[in-house]
C-alpha cells in the first residue's frame, strides 16, 4: 500500500508540474485568442476578461480578411515552410545516412562540421547571405527564403537523424544489398520508414522557427508578393497607431496552419514511440 501511495503521490506531483508549465506556456496564446474576439475598447479595459456579448466583436478578423493580400501571405508562409521542411528532411536524412552507414576518411570531422550550425546562429551571416542573394538575383523570391531555411534546419536534422540511423539494423541493410537493392532504395524503402519518428521530431523542431521567423522575410523578401504571414501582420503595427484587433486576429489565424502541421507530425511521433514500447 505504502508503495502504491507514494507512486500515486509522485504521479500527482509530476502532473502538477506539467500542468503548471502548460498553463504558463499557453497563457499568452490564450490571451491573444480571447482578445482577438473583443472590441478595441474591451481589449484595453479588461485585457484578461473573456469576450462577453457586449464586448464580442470580430472587427479584427474582418479587417484582416478584407485586407486582400492576407491569403497570399498565408500561402507564402505555407509554401516556404513546407518546401524548407521537405528539403531539410530529405538532405538531412541523406547526409545522416552517409555519415552513419559509410566508413570514409574524415567521417567524424564531416559530422562535426555539419552539426556546427547548431551552435552558430545563421543570422550572423545575414549580410553575406543578402549579398549572395542579390548577386544571384534571388531577392524578393520565396526561393531565397527556402534556401536559407533549409540551411538553417540542416545541422539539427543531420545531428538527430544520424544518431537514429546508426540504430537501424545493419543486417537489414545488408539483406537489402544481397537482394539487389541499390543504395538509394535501401535508403528510401528500408531506412527512412524505420526512422520516421525521428523525422517527425526533426520536422517539428525545424518547422516552428521557420513559420515564426520575421528576420529573413523582412530582409530577403519584403515585397508585397512574397510577404509571409508574420511579416504581413506587421502592417497593422504602426509607429503611432496599432490596430490591435487586427494584429491579434492575424496572430490567432497564424497559429492554425502550424497547429495542423504539428498534429500531423506528432501523430507520427506518438505512433513511433508506442510501436517501440509494445514490441
Amino acid at each position: 500500500m505504502a508503495q502504491a501511495r507514494s507512486h500515486l503521490g509522485r504521479t500527482i506531483a509530476a502532473h502538477a508540474v506539467l500542468i503548471t508549465y502548460t498553463l504558463i506556456a499557453l497563457f499568452p496564446v490564450f490571451v491573444i485568442v480571447i482578445n482577438s474576439m473583443k472590441s478595441r475598447k474591451a481589449i484595453f479595459a479588461e485585457p484578461l476578461a473573456l469576450p462577453r456579448s457586449d464586448t464580442f466583436d470580430l472587427i479584427g478578423f474582418t479587417t484582416v480578411l478584407q485586407q486582400g493580400d492576407f491569403f497570399l501571405y498565408f500561402l507564402n508562409s505555407l509554401i516556404v515552410t513546407v518546401a524548407s521542411l521537405f528539403f531539410v528532411l530529405l538532405f538531412g536524412a541523406m547526409a545522416a545516412f552517409a555519415l552513419s552507414e559509410y566508413r570514409f576518411k574524415g567521417n567524424t570531422l564531416m559530422g562535426l562540421y555539419l552539426a556546427l550550425g547548431i551552435m552558430i546562429p545563421i543570422r550572423l551571416g545575414t549580410v553575406a547571405i543578402l549579398q549572395m542573394m542579390v548577386a544571384a538575383g534571388l531577392v524578393n523570391t520565396l526561393t531565397a527564403l527556402i534556401l536559407v531555411y533549409t540551411a538553417q534546419g540542416l545541422p539539427l536534422a543531420v545531428f538527430i537523424l544520424s544518431e537514429f540511423m546508426k540504430q537501424v539494423s545493419d543486417d537489414l541493410k545488408n539483406a537489402g544489398r544481397i537482394d539487389g537493392l541499390s543504395e538509394y532504395r535501401i535508403f528510401f524503402t528500408l531506412v527512412l520508414p524505420l526512422v520516421r519518428p525521428a523525422m517527425a521530431t526533426v520536422a517539428v523542431f525545424s518547422m516552428i522557427p521557420i513559420w515564426n521567423d520575421l528576420w529573413f522575410p523582412l530582409i530577403l523578401a519584403p515585397s508585397e508578393a512574397t510577404k509571409t504571414i508574420t511579416l504581413g501582420s506587421q502592417v497593422f503595427i504602426g509607429q503611432f497607431v496599432t490596430n490591435w484587433n487586427a494584429v491579434l486576429a492575424a496572430l490567432s489565424l497564424a497559429i492554425l496552419p502550424v497547429l495542423v502541421l504539428y498534429l500531423v507530425f506528432s501523430r507520427q511521433l506518438i505512433r513511433g514511440i508506442t510501436a517501440g514500447a509494445v514490441k
Binding site: 539494423s169 543486417d171 528500408l190
Partner: protein
C-alpha cells in the same frame, strides 16, 4: 549449385590485419561451419564471401567464377542473418518473394516458389502476416524461406540461432540440417557455439585470431585436435589440459608429482615440457592413478559433471554412472591411456 574456393584471403582495416591468409575448399553441397570465439574473424570471412566486406588480398571463387569484384546481388548467394533482417513493412509472402521481384521474375513464378518454400518450412498459415506478428522461430523460418526461394548456389548463415531460446535452437538446428539434406545446397554457417558446429557440420573450420586453427570433420576434430586451442574449444565440458614433463623412458608424463601413463609416440624425449589432454569422459574411478579432491558436483541427469582439484589445478570428469560423491571427498581417477592427447607446451601443437 557450386563449391566455394577461398585462396589466401586477407582482410585489413587500415593497418590492422584481421584475416591472415585463409585457405578453404568447400565441395559442392557441403555443409561447412565456421566456428571460433568472438573476434576470430569468422563473421568477417562470411561477409567477405557475401560481398558485404571488401577483399584486401586473395581470391574467393564460387563455382568457377572469381567473385572478388561482384556486388552481393550478383554472387548468386543467399544469406540468413542473426536478427532475421526481415523487411518490417512487408508481409511474410512479400518478404520471401522480394528477392525474386527484384530480379524481375514473373508474378506467378514468384508465387509458386513462395508457396513451395512456405510448404517446406510450414509457413503456409502465416503468409499474410507481418514479421512483427511472428515468434522468433517463425521469423527465422521466414528468413530461411527468403533464402530458399532464390535457389542460390550457396547459403550463408550468420549465427542464425543466437537469438532463439535453448529449446527452439535445438529444434531449428535439426530443421536446418534436414533442409540441407533435402536441398543439398552448399552452405557456409557461422556460429560461436561448438555444439552447433559439431551437430550440423559436414566439415568444421575452427578459427582463431584470423587464422584457421584446424579444419576437418567434426569427429576428426574431436578425436585428434591439432592444437590445445581446438582441444579446449571443441567438446563440452572442455578437455582437461595439464602441463607436465615427459618422464624417463618416454612412457609417462609427470603432472604435479603424479605420473600419467601415455602410449608411446614420436617426439617423447624425456624432460620435454608437454601438455597432457584428457577428455572429461575418459576419466574413470580406479584404484590407482590421479588423486584429486571433489569441489563441485553438477548432475545433468544423463551424466554427472564433477569438478575436482588436483594440486593448484582444476580437473573435470564426466560420469554416466551415479557415484555418491560429496564435495571434499578424495577420489582416484585413471585416464583411458589409448585416448590421451599430448601437445607441446611452447607451441600448443599436437604431438604424435
Amino acid at each position: 549449385m557450386a563449391g566455394v574456393t577461398i585462396r589466401d584471403l586477407r582482410k585489413a582495416y587500415g593497418g590492422l590485419e584481421v584475416l591472415h591468409g585463409v585457405n578453404i575448399d568447400i565441395a559442392d553441397g557441403q555443409f561447412v561451419v565456421l566456428v571460433g570465439p568472438s573476434g576470430c574473424g569468422k563473421s568477417t570471412l562470411l561477409r567477405m564471401l557475401a560481398g558485404l566486406e571488401s577483399i584486401t588480398a586473395g581470391t574467393i571463387q564460387i563455382g568457377d567464377r572469381v567473385v572478388n569484384n561482384l556486388a552481393p546481388s550478383e554472387r548468386d548467394i543467399a544469406m540468413v542473418f542473426q536478427n532475421y533482417a526481415l523487411y518490417p513493412h512487408k508481409t511474410v509472402a512479400a518478404n520471401m518473394g522480394f528477392p525474386l521481384k527484384m530480379r524481375g521474375m514473373a508474378k506467378n513464378e514468384i508465387n509458386s516458389r513462395v508457396e513451395r518454400a512456405a510448404d517446406i518450412l510450414g509457413l503456409k498459415p502465416y503468409l499474410d502476416r507481418y514479421p512483427r506478428a511472428l515468434s522468433g522461430g517463425q521469423r527465422q523460418r521466414v528468413a530461411m524461406g527468403r533464402a530458399i526461394v532464390r535457389d542460390p548456389q550457396v547459403f550463408l548463415f550468420d549465427e542464425p540461432l543466437s537469438n532463439l531460446d535453448a529449446k527452439l535452437r535445438v529444434q531449428m538446428r535439426t530443421e536446418i540440417r534436414e533442409l540441407h539434406q533435402r536441398l543439398k545446397t552448399t552452405t557456409v554457417y557461422v556460429t560461436h557455439d561448438q555444439i552447433e558446429a559439431m551437430t550440423m557440420a559436414d566439415r568444421i573450420v575452427v578459427m582463431r585470431d584470423g587464422h584457421i586453427a584446424q579444419q576437418g570433420a567434426p569427429l576428426e576434430l574431436y578425436d585428434r585436435p591439432a592444437n590445445t586451442f581446438v582441444a579446449a574449444f571443441i567438446g563440452s565440458p572442455s578437455m582437461n589440459l595439464l602441463p607436465g614433463v615427459v618422464g624417463a623412458g618416454g612412457g609417462s608424463v609427470e603432472v604435479d608429482g603424479t605420473a600419467i601413463a601415455v602410449p608411446p609416440r614420436q617426439g617423447m624425449d624425456p624432460g620435454r615440457k608437454v601438455i597432457v589432454g584428457i577428455r572429461p569422459e575418459h576419466l574413470s574411478i580406479a584404484s590407482s592413478g590421479i588423486t584429486a579432491t571433489v569441489v563441485v558436483i553438477e548432475p545433468t541427469g544423463s551424466e554427472t559433471h564433477v569438478v575436482l582439484r588436483l594440486g593448484s589445478r582444476e580437473l573435470t570428469a564426466v560420469f554416466r554412472e551415479r557415484h555418491a560423491f560429496r564435495p571434499g571427498d578424495t577420489v582416484t581417477l585413471a585416464p583411458d591411456p589409448t585416448v590421451i592427447h599430448l601437445f607441446d607446451e611452447a607451441t600448443g601443437d599436437r604431438i604424435g
